[in-house]
C-alpha cells in the first residue's frame, strides 16, 4: 500500500511519517513532500481547522485538553498540531505540551503532534500547513493548531485555519494593546481563560474589556461577528459556549461564502509566501556559496565601484 493510501485509511504511523516528511529540511524529502501533498489535495476530507494563538502560559494546551475532551466525548475525531516554542540556546528543545494533554492523548480518536518552532518566525512552523492537509485527508473532523502568536506569525497562523481564536489570560492588557494593532482583524473569537478561583473576577473584567473594544471594530458585513468567551480550562467551564459559537461561525460563514473565500484567499497567500521563501532561500544560499560577492562588495568599500552598480551585478548573477 502506498503512503497516500495508508493516510487515507487513517493509519497512525503513516500519518506520523508523512508529517515528518513535510517538516523535513532535507532536499529529497522536500521533493517527496510536494508529490505527497499534491496527491492528498485530490482527496480532501471534511475537516474544520481551528487556530489557537496566544502568549506562552495563557493556557492554550490546557484549553485544548479541556475543549478537546469535550469534543471527543461527542465522537469527533480530533487532530492537534502543537507548535512548541523551543529553546534557542543549542537548537534542541523540550516539547512539553503533551504533559497538558494527558487525557485526550489517550483517546483513540485523537492524533497529537508537537513540533519545535525552531525559531521560524515565532508561531507557525515550516510544514504546519502541509501537516494540516495530511490530517484532513486522514479524516479528522477538527484540526487544532496551537501556536505562540506574535506579530507577523499571527498572520501566518491565521492564514492556516478556518477559525482563528486568540486565548488570553485574566487582566492581559498587553493583548488589548494588540487589538489596536490589528489582531482582531484576524481573530474570530477571543477566549478569556482561567476564569476560576481568585482569577474569576478579573477574568470577567477582562472579557468585558474585550467586549467593549470590539464595539469599536467594524465586523465585515458577511462574516460572523467576533465573539468574546469566558472559560476555565481547569474547571472545564464555558466549553458548551465555545462549541456553539464555533458551530455558529462555521454555518454563518459557509452560508455567506466567506468560508470558501477564506480558503481560496489563503491558498493565494501561501502561493505568494512559498515564492517569497524560495527566492529568499535562493538568495541566501547564493550569497553563502559565492565568494565573488565578497570581492564585489569590497570593490565598493575601496571606492572602485558604485553601490548601485554592484547591487545590479549581484542580482543578475543570483537570479539567472
Amino acid at each position: 500500500m502506498s503512503l497516500v493510501d495508508k493516510i487515507l485509511k487513517g493509519e497512525r504511523a503513516a500519518i506520523a511519517k508523512a508529517i515528518t516528511l513535510v517538516e523535513s529540511s532535507r532536499e529529497n524529502d522536500k521533493q517527496e513532500s510536494k508529490e505527497l501533498i499534491s496527491k492528498l489535495i485530490l482527496n480532501p476530507g471534511h475537516s474544520v481547522r481551528v487556530g489557537f494563538s496566544g502568549s506562552p502560559g495563557v493556557g492554550k494546551s490546557t484549553f485544548i485538553e479541556s475543549f478537546g475532551s469535550y469534543l471527543v466525548k461527542k465522537s469527533f475525531k480530533l487532530g492537534i498540531l502543537a507548535i512548541d516554542p523551543s529553546s534557542q540556546l543549542t537548537g534542541g528543545s523540550i516539547l512539553g505540551d503533551k504533559t497538558r494533554m494527558s487525557e485526550i492523548s489517550k483517546n483513540e480518536n485523537t492524533f497529537i503532534r508537537s513540533t519545535p518552532s525552531r525559531g521560524s518566525l515565532g508561531g507557525v512552523s515550516f510544514g504546519t500547513r502541509e501537516a494540516a492537509i495530511i490530517l484532513d485527508s486522514a479524516g479528522y473532523d477538527f484540526i487544532f493548531i496551537e501556536t505562540v502568536g506574535v506579530g507577523q506569525s499571527e498572520i501566518m497562523a491565521a492564514n492556516l485555519v478556518d477559525i482563528f481564536s486568540l486565548i488570553v489570560g485574566p487582566g492581559s492588557g498587553d493583548e488589548l494593546q494588540g487589538i489596536k494593532k490589528g489582531i482582531t482583524e484576524y481573530a474570530d473569537i477571543f477566549i478569556v481563560n482561567k476564569a476560576d478561583g481568585d482569577l474569576k473576577l478579573q477574568a470577567s473584567k477582562t472579557a468585558a474589556d474585550y467586549q467593549s473594544s470590539l464595539h469599536y471594530l467594524s465586523a465585515s458585513e458577511t462574516s460572523a461577528s467576533k465573539k468574546v468567551m469566558l472559560v476555565s480550562s481547569l474547571e472545564q467551564t464555558g466549553m458548551d459556549d465555545v462549541t456553539t459559537t464555533i458551530q455558529e461561525i462555521i454555518s454563518i460563514n459557509k452560508k455567506s461564502g466567506i468560508f470558501e473565500k477564506r480558503r481560496s484567499d489563503q491558498l493565494a497567500y501561501w502561493i505568494k509566501e512559498e515564492v517569497r521563501n524560495h527566492i529568499q532561500q535562493k538568495v541566501e544560499t547564493g550569497i553563502r556559496e559565492n565568494d565573488q560577492f565578497e570581492e564585489m562588495i569590497n570593490s565598493v568599500l575601496t571606492g572602485k565601484e558604485t553601490m548601485h552598480n554592484t547591487i545590479d551585478l549581484i542580482l543578475k548573477k543570483l537570479m539567472k
Binding site: 497512525r12 504511523a13 500519518i15 506520523a16 511519517k17 508529517i19 515528518t20 517538516e23 523535513s24 529540511s25 532535507r26 524529502d29 490546557t62 523551543s86 529553546s87 540556546l89 543549542t90 537548537g91 534542541g92 528543545s93 523540550i94 516539547l95 512539553g96 503533551k98 504533559t99 497538558r100 494527558s102 487525557e103 492523548s105 489517550k106 492524533f111 497529537i112 503532534r113 508537537s114 519545535p116 478561583g197 481568585d198 481547569l234
Partner: protein, 718 residues
C-alpha cells in the same frame, strides 16, 4: 595594647601564616560556595558571632527559640527513636518483617505503602498492574490493615504512616483496625504524613486538586486534635524536597512555608492555634553536607518558634518543632554499594548532632531495590552503635558555641527566611504550588547537582572517581508482583463476598454527599471502611466531587548546558547530534516517559532538560502513562527513541507491554527503546531479551548516556 588590638593582631598573623602555607595571596580564595550559595570560610572566629540575625548563642535547650533542642534533657534522658521506614508486598509479609525488627531493637514503626494504595487504586485495578506490592505494602481494606498490625499492640506501639493522597481511607482503616483490636482512637499514637503540598511539588502521590486536598488536610488536623490526643496530625516534610534535588535552603524554606499554610488551613476551621500546634511534626532529609545539615535542624527550630509566635501561639509547646529525619537515599550509589554504609553513618551522626527526635537510616542496597533483611539489619545497627557505643547521647547540643556552627545556623536561617517571605508574597504555598514555582526551582537545583557530578566538580567516591574495578555481588530483595497481585485480588474478592453491599453503598453515598456539603470527611470515611469499603471505592466516592488532579509541569532549560560551557566531551556529543540533524532533515527526537504509578520524576526531568541542552528534541510525557499511551505518543510524534525512566520496580511488567503496543500500532516501527533508573543487574538480560537497546543505571553520566543514545539512533537510521 588592648585586648581587642591583641586579637586583631593574632588574626592577621593567622592570615599571614595561612597565605604562606597555601601559597595564595588571599584566604578568600579558599571560600567554598555551597549548593545554597553560602560561602564557607577556612576559619571562623568570635567575630562571626557579632550581628547574628536569628541565633541567640546564649539560649538553652528546652526553651524558646529552641535552637538547641526541643527538650532540656534531649538524649541524656532518652535517646532518639529508631524508626525504620519499611513495607513491601502483602500485609502478611510486612507484618512478619516488622515483628522481626522490633525484636532486634527497633523502637517505632513506619509504614511504607505501595503506589496503588498511595494513589487510591485497588490492587485489582487494571491501571496499576505493574505496581502492586512492589514499592511498599498493598492495603485494600481494613482486613489488610488488621493483618499488618497483627500481634502488634496499637496502644503501645507508635506508628508512623507515610500517606498523603489516600490519607482518608488509610487513616480511617487504621482507626477501625485499632477499634477491632479493642484500642480506642484516643489511645493511638503515631504520625500520619498528611502533607499534600509537597506531593504536588515533588512526591507525586496526590489524587485530588490542591484546594480539596488542603481541605482534607485541615479535616484531619481538626479531627485528630479533638479525638486523637496522642497522634501527630501531620508530618510537614522537607525530606522529599531534598531527595528531589532541593538544596538545604530550598528544603527548609519550603517546608516551613508549607507549615505556615497548614496552620492557616487549620485556623480557618475555627481551631485555636494552641489546640493543634503541639501535634504538628516535621520531617527532614540529612544529606552529605555534614555541618550544613546540623545547622539546618537548629535553624528549623529557631525559625518555627518565631513563626508560631507571630501566629499568636501562647503555649510554649506550640512553639516547638519536633522532627523525624532520614538519611539521604539519593546520596547512596549503585556502584560499590558498601560505601553507602559509611555515608549513612556520617549522615546519621549529623542528624543526631542536629538534635532529631527520631531517625531512619538507609540500607546500603538503597539504589538497587528495597532492603533485604540483612541490609536492613546493618542500617538499624548503625543507629544502635551510635546510641550505645559512641557517647553522643551524653551531652545536649554538643556543637553549640562553635563559631562555625552558630554562624552557619544564622546564615541558613536568614536565607531561608527570605525565601519564605518570597512565597508569602505570592500569596502562600498553595498558590505558589499551583503556579509550579517551587517544583521548578527544585528541578533547577537538581539539574545543577547533576552537572557538578557529571563534570567531576563534585566527587562521588566509586562513581566518578576512585572506582572499584571489581564491583561486589550482593543479594537483592525480589518481589513477585504477579503473586502479590493475585493474593490481593483474592482477598478483595473475599471481603466483597461477605460484606453487606447495602451498607457499603449507603456509607459511600454519605461520604460523597459529605464532600459536597463540605463536612469533615474523616468520620464518614471511618463509617465506610468499617463496612469494608475498599481504599479504591472510598477514593472514587470523593473523586466524584473533587475530580482527579493532573499535574502540568514546567521544564528548566539551559541549566545543564551552561555548566559545560567549554567542555570538550559535551561539545563532541553536541556535534554528533547536530550532524545527524543536518543529514536527516530533523534533529534526533527522544520521548522520555514515566509509566505506571511511579512518581520518581527527578531523573526523567534532568535527563530531558540535559538532552535538550545537548541538542536533542525531547518530548516529555506526563506522569502515570500506560504503555499503550506511550506507544501512541511515540508513533504520532515519530520519535527516534523512547527513554523509559523507571524507579519503582514496575519495569518487568511495563516494558514488555510497551514493546507489544508499539508493534501493535506499527509492526515495522524502528523506534529504539532504552531504559534508565533502578534496574537490578539480574533483570538486565530479561530487558535485553525484550528489545531494550541500552540500560542506564543510577549514577550514569548524562553526556556519556547521550552519546550512546545518539550512536544507537545513527545506527538504526542508516
Amino acid at each position: 595594647m588592648t585586648k581587642n588590638d591583641k586579637e586583631q593582631e593574632n588574626l592577621s598573623n593567622w592570615k599571614k601564616s595561612f597565605e604562606k602555607e597555601t601559597k595564595k595571596s588571599d584566604a578568600e580564595d579558599f571560600y567554598f560556595s555551597t549548593d545554597e550559595e553560602i560561602d564557607i570560610k577556612p576559619l571562623y572566629t568570635k567575630e562571626d558571632l557579632n550581628n547574628l540575625s536569628f541565633v541567640e548563642p546564649n539560649s538553652l535547650p528546652g526553651s524558646s527559640p529552641f535552637t538547641r533542642g526541643p527538650k532540656a534533657s534531649m538524649y541524656t534522658n532518652r535517646p532518639w527513636t529508631i524508626r525504620q521506614y519499611a513495607g513491601f508486598s502483602t500485609a502478611e509479609e510486612s507484618n512478619t518483617f516488622y515483628k522481626k525488627n522490633l525484636e532486634s531493637g527497633q523502637k517505632g514503626l513506619s509504614v511504607a505503602f505501595d503506589l496503588p494504595t498511595h494513589r487510591g487504586y485497588d490492587s485489582d485495578d487494571e491501571l496499576v498492574k505493574g505496581d502492586v506490592g512492589k514499592a511498599g505494602v498493598a492495603i485494600d481494606t481494613v482486613e489488610d490493615m488488621k493483618i499488618l498490625f497483627k500481634d502488634i499492640p496499637l496502644d503501645q506501639m507508635s506508628v508512623s504512616m507515610t500517606m498523603n493522597g489516600a490519607v482518608l481511607p488509610i487513616l480511617a482503616s487504621f482507626i477501625v483496625a485499632g477499634e477491632e483490636q479493642h484500642v480506642g482512637r484516643e489511645l493511638l499514637s503515631g504520625t500520619i504524613q498528611n502533607d499534600i503540598l509537597k506531593e504536588f511539588m515533588v512526591r507525586n502521590t496526590y489524587i485530588y486538586p490542591p484546594e480539596p486536598s488542603m481541605k482534607i488536610v485541615a479535616d484531619i488536623i481538626e479531627f485528630t486534635s479533638r479525638e486523637m490526643p496522642k497522634f501527630n496530625s501531620i508530618s510537614i516534610s522537607g525530606y522529599h524536597m531534598q531527595e528531589a534535588g532541593a538544596d538545604n535552603v530550598l528544603e527548609l524554606a519550603y517546608t516551613l512555608a508549607d507549615g505556615i499554610e497548614y496552620v492557616r488551613a487549620a485556623l480557618s476551621k475555627g481551631l485555636d492555634i494552641d489546640e493543634f500546634a503541639p501535634r504538628l511534626s516535621f520531617f527532614f532529609a540529612i544529606g552529605t553536607d555534614f555541618f550544613m545539615e546540623i545547622a539546618k535542624l537548629r535553624a528549623a527550630r529557631t525559625l518555627w518558634s518565631k513563626i508560631m509566635k507571630d501566629f499568636g501561639a501562647k503555649k510554649e509547646k506550640s512553639l516547638i518543632l519536633r522532627t523525624h529525619c532520614q538519611t539521604s537515599g539519593v546520596s547512596l550509589t549503585e556502584k560499590d554499594p558498601y560505601n553507602n554504609i559509611v555515608r549513612t553513618s556520617y549522615e546519621a551522626l549529623s542528624a543526631i548532632l542536629g538534635g532529631t527526635q527520631s531517625l531512619h537510616t538507609n540500607s546500603f542496597d538503597e539504589a538497587i531495590a528495597l532492603p533485604t533483611d540483612e541490609s536492613a539489619r546493618i542500617a538499624r545497627n548503625t543507629q544502635l552503635i551510635l546510641q550505645n557505643e559512641t557517647g553522643v547521647t551524653k551531652t545536649v547540643d554538643p556543637l553549640a558555641g562553635s563559631f562555625f556552627i552558630e554562624k552557619l545556623t544564622d546564615e541558613i536561617s536568614k536565607k531561608s527566611w527570605d525565601l519564605i517571605e518570597e512565597i508569602e508574597s505570592l500569596g502562600g504555598m498553595t498558590k505558589a504550588v499551583k503556579a509550579g514555582i517551587p517544583k521548578l526551582k527544585i528541578e533547577e537545583s537538581a539539574t545543577k547537582k547533576q552537572a557538578k557530578v557529571d563534570s567531576g566538580d563534585r566527587v562521588v567516591v566509586g562513581v566518578n572517581k576512585f572506582k572499584n574495578p571489581k564491583e561486589p555481588k550482593i543479594d537483592v530483595r525480589v518481589i513477585d508482583n504477579d503473586k502479590v497481585r493475585e493474593d490481593q485480588i483474592n482477598k478483595i474478592n473475599k471481603v466483597k463476598s461477605i460484606r453487606d453491599e447495602n451498607l457499603v453503598n449507603e456509607s459511600l453515598l454519605k461520604l460523597t454527599n459529605a464532600a459536597k456539603e463540605n463536612k469533615n470527611l474523616l468520620e464518614f470515611t471511618i463509617e465506610a471502611m468499617k463496612h469494608r469499603a475498599t481504599v479504591g471505592e472510598a477514593s472514587k466516592a470523593l473523586e466524584e466531587v473533587f475530580g482527579r488532579h493532573f499535574a502540568t509541569s514546567l521544564s528548566v532549560s539551559g541549566v545543564y548546558g551552561k555548566h559545560f560551557d567549554k567542555n570538550e566531551d559535551f561539545k563532541n556529543v553536541s556535534k554528533k547530534i547536530d550532524s545527524f540533524g543536518k543529514k536527516h532533515g530533523r534533529r534526533p527526537r527522544v520521548l522520555v516517559v514515566k509509566m505506571g504509578q511511579d512518581g520518581h520524576d527527578r531523573g526523567a526531568k534532568i535527563v530531558a532538560t540535559s538532552f535538550a541542552d545537548l541538542g536533542f528534541d525531547v518530548d516529555m510525557g506526563p506522569l502515570f502513562q500506560t504503555p499503550k499511551d506511550v506507544a501512541k505518543d511515540a508513533i504520532e510524534n515519530d520519535v527516534h527513541a523512547i527513554g523509559v525512566s523507571t524507579l519503582a520496580a514496575g519495569h518487568k511488567t511495563l516494558i514488555p507491554e510497551l514493546i507489544d503496543n508499539l508493534k501493535n500500532i506499527d509492526p515495522k516501527s524502528k523506534i529504539i527503546v532504552f531504559v534508565g533508573g533502578i534496574i537490578p543487574e539480574q533483570d538486565y538480560e530479561f530487558l535485553y531479551n525484550n528489545n531494550i537497546s541500552a540500560i542506564f543505571g543510577p549514577g550514569s553520566n548524562i553526556i556519556e548516556s547521550a552519546e550512546k543514545v545518539i550512536e544507537l539512533i545513527i545506527k538504526k537510521n542508516n
